[in-house]
Amino acid sequence: MIKVEGIKKSFGEVEVLKGIDFVFEQGKTNLIIGRSGAGKTVLLKILVGLFAPTEGKVWYDDRDFHSMDKDALRELRMEVGMLFQGNALFDSMTVAENVRFPLDMFSNMSLSEKNERVNDCLSRVSLDGANDKFPSEISGGMQKRVGIARAIVYRPKYLFCDEPNSGLDPKTAITIDELIKDITVEQNITTVINTHDMNSVMEIGDKICFLDKGLIEWKGTRHEVMESENQNLNDFIFASPFLQRLKERAKK
């Protein structure tokens, strides 16, 4: 469980987040949705500590993130996996080396155990056999999947994904969503996903928070999205005429 209380964040004069309160639950896929520029990435980076909030608190279960000492923080880091919006793969390392990196840094497994774990993770994201390629040699979608493999290789308790399926074809996108969902349930972890993909919202939105103009405009589950009367949310989710018609039909 991750809880945020009164998170505010300004860059200079611009206030990007104006007071966010939310609970991201364990064993569920928690979604942060919102328009491009709504502050999803900023909120995620505050959750993992890459940005310090101007105001407010982040709790990892009973641990107050921003007042932890160095050792406690390092320990917590071991429990965190993250997929960046831009992947952030190490481009002078091969795919396998990328995925193995957290293990190389922190685990005392033998090389063969590590390689086995790496291969497991790569096959979970359907990338068997890509071990020796470099990130520049594989497609954007494949890079994304390598990023996911790297995020889950150390068996995190908290998983953060910034737009895990943007730039993927619908089929692969669904596979990735299901994969994240499966891992979340299987290992009972707290997963936070940034997305503006409506399929994800409908498929894996256990708990959704809709960011708009720096505030949480709406929160609920994927089942509640359909019934919601919130105009802003409806404009965002059912943006295309096709989806609007679908919703109308569902109502009848």
Partner: protein, 221 residues
């Protein structure tokens, strides 16, 4: 991981810089010999002093300073660009989140690598410079091998060698810390990366020259 990375840095800095250090020091030795031969002809100072002058100039000042100024350009800009690129591509953020202590993981191997490799390079530069002085004067008939070698063996003071290693170590430390700092805290895009890399070189050079003067004052007083 740290160990492997340190070895890689030593190799890159040390072996990678050998050719340039070799070329520069051989010419500096040669020019020093040639120039002092010209200045000293017609004076009462015997020609064998040239060997002595070349040796001491190389050991006391030129080997360490010139080599490190060149390495500031070569190694410094490289380090700033490498680390700066990692910062901009969020590699450093990704490592931080994994729990890696990025400042020590990325910078420490470079400092250790440089602090070991650069003094060796400087030592090689001094020797090559002295050979350069020989090549410029003896085969061309300015004076005899006997004179040059006699000069080399006169008035030797071991303290100068200590001074050379002290300078080399300090300069190596300055180049890496200044350059890594510039890269680590880079913001923005490719223009800023270029600027950081330039700043790394310029600031390392200035730091080297200031340190050179301070070491000279401290170790000769």
């Amino acid at each position: 991981m740290y160990y492997k990375e340190t070895i890689r840095q030593m190799y890159d800095i040390g072996i990678g810089s050998l050719p340039i250090v070799f070329i520069i020091s051989i010419f500096i030795g040669a020019v020093t010999a040639q120039q002092f031969y010209y200045q000293l002809t017609g004076t009462a100072i015997p020609t064998y002093y040239i060997g002595y002058i070349v040796r001491d100039m190389m050991i006391i000042e030129l080997a360490a300073t010139i080599t490190c100024l060149v390495l500031a350009g070569k190694v410094g800009s490289n380090m700033a660009a490498e680390i700066g690129g990692m910062r901009q591509k969020e590699h450093i953020d990704a490592m931080e989140i994994m729990g890696v202590n990025t400042s020590s993981y990325l910078i420490l191997p470079k400092i250790i690598g440089a602090v070991f490799a650069i003094p060796v390079l400087v030592c090689i530069a001094a020797i090559v410079g002295i050979v350069g002085g020989y090549l410029a004067s003896v085969p061309t008939g300015l004076y005899t091998e006997f004179d040059y070698v006699k000069g080399l063996r006169s008035f030797f003071n071991q303290r100068y060698v200590v001074m050379m290693f002290a300078k080399a170590t300090v300069f190596a430390y300055l180049i890496t810390t200044v350059s890594c700092y510039q890269g680590y805290f880079v913001k923005g895009g490719s223009v800023e990366l270029g600027q950081a890399s330039t700043r790394a070189v310029v600031l390392s050079c200035v730091a080297i020259l200031i340190a050179d003067y301070i070491i000279a004052v401290v170790l000769t007083s």
